[in-house]
């Protein structure tokens, strides 16, 4: 039934796959066009006019978060590397506690559109805004890279395109389509797609999970036995298949775990979602919704990953177009034939589309609001100019992401996203935490921490096996992998915290105590951000 004998061909009929897939994508596009008719002000474009309820926003957060990385990447990672892939699920989920307890409500109360609004609140506006916008752009770039690579692999699988040149072309076309979509949709359109997509993705994963369990007599243990039988080794059930081979690999595992859990609360596009609700209480509610949806989904990934390992097998998955990222679509085909394959792929594609839109808007907002409007135009941009700059930024970012996506093609996208998490946790998290909770924090501390964290994370990645030295690297020919860690978190995150502290302690000046009072009071009480309560 499964036509996987020739590794480079698509399962099923490419035209049927694409027809089902295309119909679904068309429907979501229509919804966005309809939802985006009244994007007038910057508040509409970036923050959807703060019109969403906690439940809606929570689903949208889940939609944002359950990106291609979560669905395609984690299922693939579990199917191929066994239990080690499950760490992504756990790390991505527990990370939400940091977001919920430490930052969500406080940020909602002090910010307006972007992360830089909060970070520059009581520090010197210009340098901190420029730094925050820079880190936002870099984090969004890494995240986009993963999504583009995922979209390319997915469409290549559906069309049965095996060669690199064809896949690069696919990434370019898909990327161009996504840019168009963001230009039209804005935040409101994107939020609606996220909501619809979150529901479809979780429903689709639930159906597949029940199906996989049903085949195995509703026994998870039997499923695991079958996965062992297909893989030919019981190691697939135990930790250490990928990260247990050496001491360095074990350290790499810890580094990944740290980046995953600390990254979420520092992801600019997740933080921006807290601004689309009217009150701190709604922000809290949205995070709770998101945690439930995301948590349930990640339990499904465990079943789906081992389901793919049992029914298809790691070697066949790796040989398919898209590599490990094709495990979920292949499992869908194995279960429900071309119809389920088309549906699941379309949902995964809508996922990528919406996440790309959310990321690009965040990056564009950061550039237009923080650099153009606040720094270049000193807070007084011409009417409409800010949104115009934002739209132009979208095009530039899109093109850069397409080029990066072609370079990253074939890498596991959960792994690529983990790099974005490491960069976010290094460059942003210390400054967010210090400026909310530490009175003595200064501009110098913020700049040292942000640039230091960003630079150390980027340099460590550039010198790691991700970029060069192994056959799966981005530049397989070169060999400058001095740093053996493939995730920089364990070095760059503590370093950024240290630099923030050191920079502040060595700073002779102190920041305005009045601003510190205002920020602390506003962050905890919501004065100025909540609607006035008239009695």
């Amino acid at each position: 039934m499964l036509h996987l004998d020739a590794a480079s061909t698509s399962p099923g009929d490419p035209w049927l796959n694409i027809a089902i897939f295309g119909a679904f994508v068309a429907i979501t596009m229509v919804i966005v066009f309809r939802a985006s008719r009244n994007n007038k002000t910057a508040s509409d474009y970036y923050a959807a006019g703060r019109s969403f309820t906690g439940g809606q926003n929570g689903s949208a957060i889940a939609g944002d978060y359950l990106s291609a990385a979560s669905f395609l990447g984690i299922v693939g990672a579990i199917a191929v590397t066994g239990y080690d892939g499950f760490l992504y699920s756990i790390g991505f989920l527990v990370a939400w506690l940091v977001a919920l307890l430490l930052v969500a409500e406080l940020l909602r109360n002090t910010g307006k559109f972007t992360m830089a609004d909060v970070l520059s609140f009581r520090l010197k506006q210009r340098p901190v805004r420029i730094a925050a916008a820079t880190t936002t752009l870099v984090v969004c770039f890494f995240y986009l890279l993963a999504q583009m690579a995922g979209a390319g692999g997915l469409v290549s699988l559906l069309l049965g395109i095996g060669d690199k040149l064809g896949q690069s072309l696919v990434i370019t076309v898909v990327g161009a389509l996504m840019i168009l979509y963001v230009l039209v949709g804005g935040m409101k359109g994107t939020t609606w797609v996220q909501i619809i997509k979150a529901v479809l993705l979780i429903a689709g994963a639930a159906v597949m999970t029940v199906w996989v369990l049903a085949i195995n007599g509703f026994s998870f243990s039997t499923l695991l036995d079958n996965a062992v039988a297909t893989a030919g080794t019981p190691a697939i059930l135990d930790p250490g298949l990928k990260y247990g081979v050496s001491e360095v690999a074990k350290l790499d595992f810890l580094s990944l775990g740290l980046a995953l859990v600390l990254g979420t609360a520092a992801l600019p596009h997740v933080l921006m979602r807290f601004y689309t609700v009217p009150t701190a209480k709604e922000a809290r509610k949205s995070v709770v919704w998101a945690i439930w949806l995301i948590g349930i989904f990640y339990v499904f990934t465990l079943v789906l990953g081992y389901g793919a390992a049992a029914l298809i097998g790691g070697e066949k998955i790796l040989a398919a177009p898209g590599g490990a990222n094709s495990a979920a679509p292949l499992l869908a085909f194995e279960l429900g034939g071309p119809v389920l394959l088309g549906l699941i792929s379309a949902i995964a594609f809508a996922t990528i589309l919406a996440v790309v839109a959310g990321l690009t808007i965040t990056a564009a907002a950061s550039f237009a609001h923080d650099i153009y409007a606040s720094v270049v135009k000193k807070g007084k941009p011409a009417p409409g100019a800010e949104v115009k700059v934002a739209r132009r930024t979208v095009v530039v970012i899109g093109i850069i992401a397409i080029i990066g996506g072609i370079g990253a093609n074939g890498q596991n996208i959960a792994f690529l996203v983990a790099l974005a998490f490491a960069v976010a946790a290094s460059a942003n998290l210390p400054t967010i935490v210090y400026s909310l909770f530490w009175k003595r924090f200064t501009t110098q501390g913020a700049l040292w921490s942000m640039y230091g964290g960003l630079a150390s994370a980027l340099i460590l990645i550039a010198l790691s096996p991700v970029v060069s030295g192994t056959p799966t690297s981005m530049i397989p020919g070169a060999d400058f992998d001095i740093v053996p860690l493939s995730n920089p978190g364990i070095i760059s995150i503590p370093l950024a915290f240290l630099l923030g502290w050191l920079g502040s302690v060595l700073d002779k000046g102190i920041e305005s105590p009045a601003k510190q009072s205002e920020m602390e009071v506003r962050s905890l009480t919501g004065i100025g951000a909540e609607k006035a309560t008239h009695h």
């Binding site: 506690l97 775990g257 009071v521 009480t525 609607k531």
Partner: protein, 135 residues
């Protein structure tokens, strides 16, 4: 641009003395309640997570011990992380609704009714009396 009533523009809200609010006993209580919940709970959750990651990284034999059929300790500990995340989320929401929100609302109401105005009138000096009691 945007809705001014809801915007948290980076400019100062002119007629509120935030310093006075910050040192008021109500706010100090809110700040204390918030920190004494958030820091220890989050610290414990992160510690539990790090222990899990370390076990998965370094204690392979222990994690590979089968418990039910082929389900091993690693699977159960992973699912336990999910369960604790859900539990802490519900706990936090319950706690925040009960302890943070009423205090925050009380302070917002006082600020709106002009208790903490910057013009050094009777209301501001009234705060000054309580100020000495804090810190």
């Amino acid at each position: 641009m945007g809705n001014d009533a809801l915007s948290a523009e980076t400019g100062t809200i002119p007629d509120v003395d935030f310093r006075a609010v910050q040192v008021s006993p109500e706010f100090q209580k809110l700040r204390r309640t918030h920190r004494s919940f958030v820091f220890p709970v989050l610290g414990a959750c992160l510690a539990w997570y790090i222990v899990y990651v370390l076990l998965a990284g370094y204690a392979h034999d222990f994690m590979s011990t089968p418990v039910f059929g082929s389900i091993n300790v690693a699977m159960l500990l992973g699912l336990a992380q999910v369960v604790t995340t859900f539990a802490v989320t519900m706990w936090y929401v319950h706690f925040a609704n009960k302890h943070f929100d009423p205090l925050a609302e009380q302070i917002r109401d006082e600020v709106e009714s002009g208790v903490f105005g910057t013009d050094a009138s009777a209301s501001a000096s009234g705060v000054g009396v309580t100020e000495g009691g804090v810190r």
